[in-house]
Symmetry: C2
Subunit: 243 residues, 2 copies
DNA sequence: CCGGTATATTGGTCGGACCAGTTGACCTGC
DNA sequence: GCAGGTCAACTGGTCCGACCAATATACCGG
């Protein structure tokens, strides 16, 4: 298959490089960033590009900027928001940070049943219609990638059905986090995607507006799902330690 | 007391204005933003400022930019991350969006007991030491604002102790969200802050590395706390509907 | 109707100027 | 000696005007 070629503007490149340095603690909390004009020379780009990059770092909570003084690095663990998860999950060498992955899976594990439960109370019929439509497209013979897409839409519909904007935005953050390791997730969860019964059970519980059942079915699914990931991460970690 | 005077750069002002228009659906998903050069004239600022603002909008997931074509507004409900919660909670007129507030409280309610439980297993002693130190500073006679500060540090310590970076970043997002309605929270939760027993109970459970007890104590606290907020929001909503 | 082509439009980059806060060395006067 | 003021050298913030690069559109020719 083809995939869109990735373009990157200069300011994006600058942003990535600085972010990488901060998260690798090459630049530690409290350190001053080089002055913008110096960065221009070092990176051989225009000041505008540097400034756009720094604005983004500021918004991400990685640096503190004040006019007249130097731009300083902040403690991202205390300042940054969920949007940073994607950057944390995979390092510059493409290695997965196992403890970050475990954190994400854990949060997802905790929230998912609640989301299903809320969807069952908030908008059962409409949500169930959407869920059924998605499940109908899931055929075991389909390629795993397609099933993954559908599973993602399934949860997207569920989250929207929960009527909880906080869940929704958190879900978006997580979705962005999955993107870089998409193929990995595909292989890891192939078994899960093919177990259509789980999806049907959740959809049915939602349609019945049965909060408890929705919670329980989602819990079963997500626990099973999470265990598969935990297992993979354990193996991944052992393998990393060997080399 | 004094508080820091708030400065705002031009690009921040532009960002706020565009974000506001997008969230008020003055600019709908799919709509094209005016060209940068036109925005410069309309807002009477330099193109650099406009570009910095748009870069931030792009990072926040509110617009989609591509060279050569127009910059278009995205569906923020599907694209934006948790960092947007703060902007959603309070509208331009300073009114609280009640359904957003309920969403946030709900997510917090679900996550808090899990955080306490994880802290009890992950780093019980160190965390408990920090918790005890904070609780020691909580004296019922202290001004509510101070107690609020301490309560926030308490949860900050707990979240750090959970060793879960996803929780930590989500917590940061939520903390930023509280900031604009800080005083409101102070009044709303005064009773809660003065109930030191809850904090002690959580700290004790963590020290004993008793996962179940930590979960349960945190659950009791956060439920009580959330109910207070829900009650306030109901009243707030009724009042809004009247006027 | 299809495919190419010229042109206008849009975002991306450049450099160089000046404005506006901050810092620190230095001087002043008590 | 030291509090307070002064000034110069930073730092980030804003501006201008030019040009590059990708895209959209209208038009033309087959």
């Amino acid at each position: 298959m083809f995939q869109a070629v990735s373009k990157q503007s200069l300011s994006d490149a600058v942003f990535d490089q600085l972010r990488e340095r901060i998260m690798r603690e090459d630049l530690r909390a409290g350190d001053a960033l080089p002055p913008e004009r110096l960065l221009c020379e070092l990176l051989n780009v225009n000041r505008g590009s540097v400034r756009e990059a720094i604005k983004r770092l500021q918004q991400a909570g990685l640096v503190h900027v004040r006019q007249g003084g130097p731009t300083t690095v902040t403690d991202y663990r205390r300042q940054a928001g969920t949007d940073l998860l994607a950057s944390l999950l995979v390092d510059a060498q493409g290695r997965i940070q196992v403890h970050v992955a475990r954190s994400i899976v854990r949060m997802r594990q905790v929230l998912s049943p609640e989301i299903a439960a809320d969807a069952a109370t908030h908008a059962p019929q409409i949500t169930a219609d959407r869920l059924d439509a998605i499940v109908a497209k899931m055929v075991p013979a389909a390629p795993t990638g397609t099933l993954q897409e559908l599973a993602l839409s399934f949860w997207e519909a569920l989250v929207e059905g929960s009527g909880n904007i906080a869940y929704q935005l958190a879900f978006n953050s997580l979705r962005r986090t999955y993107e870089p390791i998409r193929e990995l997730m595909t292989r890891m969860l192939e078994q899960e995607f093919r177990n259509l019964e789980s999806f049907r059970a959740i959809a049915t519980a939602v349609r019945k507006a049965d909060r408890g059942a929705a919670f329980e079915q989602a819990r079963r699914y997500i626990n099973h799902n999470s265990d598969a990931i935990y297992g993979f991460l354990d193996a991944y970690e052992r393998r990393s330690n060997l080399t």
